[in-house]
Amino acid sequence: MNRFEAVIGLEVHAELMTNAKMFCGCRVVDSVEAPPNSAVCPICLGMPGMLPAINRRAVEFALRVALALNCEIQAENVFARKNYFYPDLPKGYQISQYELPLARHGWLEISLPGGAKRRVGIRRVHIEEDTGKLTHLDGEGSLVDYNRSGVPLLEIVSEPELHSAEEVYAYAVRLRQILRYLQVNSGDLEKGVLRVEPNISLRPQGSSEFGTRTEVKNLNSFRALAAATEYELQRQEAILRQGGEVAQETRGWHEGRRETFSQRSKEEAEDYRYFPEPDLPPLFVDKAWIDRVRQELPELPAAKVDRYQEDLDLSHYDASVLTEDRPIAEWFEAAVKAGGEPKRVANWIINNLFALINESQQEITSIRVTPEGLVSLLKLVDEETISHNSAKDVLVEMFKTGKAPDAIVGERGLAQISDEQALEHIVSKVLALNAQQVQAYLEGKEQLQGWFVGQVMRETRGKANPELANELVTKLLERRR
């Protein structure tokens, strides 16, 4: 039986987090939270006589993405009208880019399970505007909210070079991470500010022709993206195995039934009648502009992962966890800069700080523990002022109150007893109180040594320097032989 190869390309739409819309001064608002139609004007309502003008920062954000995706930037950008009628599009056309998009021929490196890396081609990145939002009322018509109309939108189209649901997932996750690093998009799929649509087809292994593809929409999580892709691959394979033909169409994803369903057939090729937008003169992006944006690009996650491993000697796992979000990576780097030993700081963040952050449902940017604070805490451990265990308690307190670690240690009397004479006195007392166990120890039951150390810790409420206590217990016991 012949085998099939999956051919998948991803079309991603990302709203840009500018203050104002793409072509007018209306504020970009949260389309879920804001009162409907509270951020609209004649331009984004498509009223006669309006004149759009390009938002400079939207272009700047688009350039960041294009450069981060290793694209060639086109010097001459022409906007085009994409004509179609739908109530979410008040002008009757969407301003987009067609023949001369902002950027082409890029690539994105994805990491696959097992550590393998692969470059996926980026066909194009172009700027357009988002449409309004429709809410369908049962049998009573539809409501239209134009707050989203005219919000800057970036379309990022990959080459059809993905071959499995796993790769689709890896690509989408990596792209979202980069958009967040670049601070141009929040990556919120649920709110629809980031929308990922796979184009899926199958062809016999070894064939160079493409099969008929379907496009899947309504995917509001990465899990839905992977599940829908997997479902669609299986559905198409079943059709092809029975000698049938896949219909070219747009399909929706039903989260409850976990299956795709036909939404709109594309038998008739879309006829958008693109033509150059007469209201917007061409946009030229010169080398100086590109160079400046390139210089201002942050270090991207893939580069950070490599650097953390090579220069800071972290494991691949630790490096990946710490670079998942830019604010976490920056917090970690600030702690290292403040003198923290990288491996140790990484452990404290991953093993202790993350738990506190998750428990309190905060972001690392809003917590009261500072990177410098963590480093001072670790210093107290190094200086043997407090034990490793007390340090964990102090961190919890720092997290709650924002106080400095030495203040907490002072207030709570956590400073550990490292004074040899003082501790020797306590050890003697413990031995005197437990004559029977001392006798047993001297008769050969040497595992009791640990029990004595435990008693010393109990007596000091955990403040005894554990190494010193250990040493003194052995010394004093042996002295009694």
Partner: protein, 97 residues
């Protein structure tokens, strides 16, 4: 340039217009005449002229990313035939057939 009835019907369909057979014929003649008129441009000798998308020499007309006040709700909905819950109320949208 002579348009066919089919072409006229397709354009009408894209514009969401329903035309009678007489109207199709009427527009076929009129639109054909418009195209004939524009076709005169083909008589120009344009060898060596770089194609352009805009007649005016402007470029890079940009606006700063500054939010400004939007319209009040009353103005927004002023021309709407129907509205409710701060939104335009329209006939149920059916997917294109």
């Amino acid at each position: 340039m002579e348009l066919t009835s089919e072409e006229v019907k397709k354009v009408a369909d894209l514009a969401r217009l329903t035309l009678s057979e007489e109207e199709v014929e009427q527009y076929r003649e009129q639109l054909s005449a418009v195209l004939d008129y524009v076709e005169q441009l083909n008589e120009l000798a344009l060898d060596g002229v770089t194609p352009t998308t805009h007649a005016v020499g402007q470029q890079n007309v940009l606006r700063e990313d500054e939010a400004r006040p939007s319209l009040g709700l009353e103005d927004v909905l002023y021309n709407a035939p129907a509205h409710t819950r701060r939104q335009f109320l329209i006939q149920a949208v059916l997917e294109d057939e």
